[in-house]
């Protein structure tokens, strides 16, 4: 009675239906790779020279010298930390209204487009370009760096806040609306509890980014530890530069561990 049914084969359908196109793309990729590798010029002589020079260069980093330039290192770090904290706080405060306006499910169409515009513009330019721009406007020093990092924070935090609000559970929001809550009450009771844990995590992450970026904006004149680092390179004081790098690495690691801890705690 159990007549075996002729077994049907099954294979996952290919992503690209046409076999010609599928194989054609592979062939194109292979030809491109062959041409690209073939046209790459590698001067092994220069690589050899560079290798000996870089061992000397790296050797100059050791032992790191914390003491002889300690005052300027300390000053640079303090300036960087000041820039980091103020720009994160100011940037996040400014990004909250922009983020609310840029959430499609919250805002009115013209406001939405305007706020998305602000976010797009501030995300177009990396912090270093913003820093060059603000140094030109306001002169050298940490104020220019602070402004650059603040604007960068608005773009980053505003966009992620808007996206998190767009992803929230609409039923919870509807429920608070249905009791007759006002708009601000609705934000406080329905929206804020849903987005807060993630936003705290992202705020700490942004603090981390801003500290690292504060070292970069210093190189173009935005103050902070980057300026100190650049000076020590210019003076060929590689042992001091090594000390600065170690301090930066240490601070980033402390931030990394504490942010992981805080994020678990707010969930």
């Amino acid at each position: 009675m159990n007549q075996p049914v002729a077994s049907r084969t099954w294979k996952r359908p290919p992503f690209i239906q046409s076999a010609l196109l599928r194989w054609g793309l592979w062939v194109c990729l292979a030809i491109y790779l062959a041409l690209a590798i073939g046209s790459m010029e590698i001067d092994w002589g220069r690589v050899g020279e560079g290798a000996t020079r870089s061992t000397r260069f790296i050797a100059a980093f050791f032992p790191p010298d914390f003491s002889s330039r300690w005052d300027s290192i300390y000053e640079g770090i303090m300036e960087s930390l000041w820039m980091t904290i103020t720009s994160t706080v100011v940037g996040i405060m400014l990004s909250i209204p922009v983020g609310l306006g840029a959430a499609r499910n919250l805002s009115w169409r013209p406001v939405y487009l305007f706020c998305r515009g602000i976010l797009a513009v501030s995300r177009t330019f990396p912090e270093i370009i913003l820093a060059i721009f603000f140094v030109k406007l306001f002169g050298f020093g940490p104020f220019a760096g602070f402004l650059a990092l603040s604007v960068g924070t608005i773009g980053f935090y505003g966009k992620l806040l808007a996206e998190d609000i767009e992803d929230m559970d609409p039923v919870q929001a509807e429920a608070i609306k249905s009791v007759g809550a006002g708009w601000l009450q609705w934000l406080n009771y329905a929206v804020q509890p849903q987005v807060m844990p993630r936003m705290i995590g992202l705020g700490i992450y942004r603090l981390d980014i801003n500290f690292r970026e504060s070292a970069v904006v210093g190189i173009v004149g935005g103050g902070g530890i980057g300026a100190t680092l650049l000076t020590s390179f210019d003076r060929y004081e590689f042992d001091s530069a090594a000390a600065i790098l170690l301090v930066i690495i240490g601070i980033v690691m402390v931030m990394e561990y504490s942010s992981g801890y805080i994020r678990r705690w707010v969930q």
Binding site: A175, I176, V179, G180, A181, W186, Y189, P193, Q194, M196
Partner: protein, 279 residues
């Protein structure tokens, strides 16, 4: 209490969800709204408190016409209508107490609510209601720590602390097991009786509707096709509402239930405790 006149809703996609619905629910009446998925049950109750904007028609709550209210008048009107949701719709990261007190948001100012400084009378009432549904010991638990049945009880407290005239209940038992479903339905009906509330309960479980309400309205493709007492739901009527199917079993089951319900429930209460009583 609630009067709906020629209510119509056409969604932007062009779908006509409600076709000129007329309905009146007097004070103190609990009415079940049954019908297949997509019949427009949710749309109908959401058009009453305007979570969905009706396209035509009028809705009267007492003497107040709701369909054309401005935003602040609508807020005030919404305080008079409590809503209970299918998936409970509690704000999950707020505590049970905050969820209950959020029912008072229409009555307190922003700063008071922001600082969680609600009037003592509201807090007393919140504890009373939580005690009534047996959850007063859970006041400071976060809402996402509760089970489904417990969450729905908190949802009921949130609706009742509004001190509403009307309850809009959207599939209160759809995510609950059969026993909890009955407990929740009984609780809602008892509370409506105590407070003389009018209620519309959307429910797709015909049996539960027949067990707990005295009036059933059947909605099919956005139009009312049945309005009457539960015992007149014949196979023909159910076929008209839901389409062709063997309905005898459903109707038989209800008849048995009517006879046995008292015994079954008495036993159940002995085993699990009275649903309202604190455990």
């Amino acid at each position: 209490m609630l009067r709906i006149e020629n209510l119509e809703k056409r969604y932007q996609t062009g779908d006509l969800a409600l076709k000129s619905v007329n309905l009146e629910v007097p004070k103190g009446q609990v009415m079940a709204l049954i019908g297949p998925s997509g019949a427009g049950k949710s749309t109908l109750i959401r058009c009453v408190n305007r979570l969905v904007e009706p396209t035509a028609g009028k809705v009267f709550l007492g003497d107040l016409e709701l369909a054309h209210l401005g935003s602040s008048a609508l807020r005030r009107a919404r305080t008079r209508m409590g809503m209970i949701f299918q998936e409970y719709a509690l704000v999950e990261r707020l505590s049970v107490m905050e969820n209950v007190l959020s029912g008072r948001l229409g009555y307190v100012g922003f700063w008071r609510s922001y600082l969680r400084k609600f009037p003592q009378s509201d807090i007393d009432e919140a504890f009373n209601l939580l005690q009534r549904v047996g959850l007063d010991h859970m006041a400071d638990k976060r809402a996402d720590e509760l089970s489904g049945g417990q969450r729905q009880r908190v949802g009921i407290c949130r609706a009742l602390i509004q001190n509403p005239d009307l309850l809009l209940v959207d599939e209160p038992t759809a995510s609950l097991d059969p026993k909890t479903s009955r407990q929740i339905m009984r609780l809602i009906c008892e509370l409506c009786e105590e407070r003389q509330l009018a209620a519309i309960i959307n429910i797709h479980d015909v049996l539960l509707a027949q067990m707990f309400t005295r009036r059933i309205v059947g909605l099919q493709l956005g139009a009312i096709v049945y309005d009457g007492p539960p015992d007149q739901l014949s196979p023909d009527v159910l076929t008209q509402i839901y389409g062709e199917e063997d309905w005898e079993a459903t109707i038989e089951a209800t008849k048995d239930l009517d006879e046995d319900e008292a015994d079954v429930l008495a036993v159940a209460e002995k085993v699990i405790g009275r649903p309202g009583a604190p455990s």
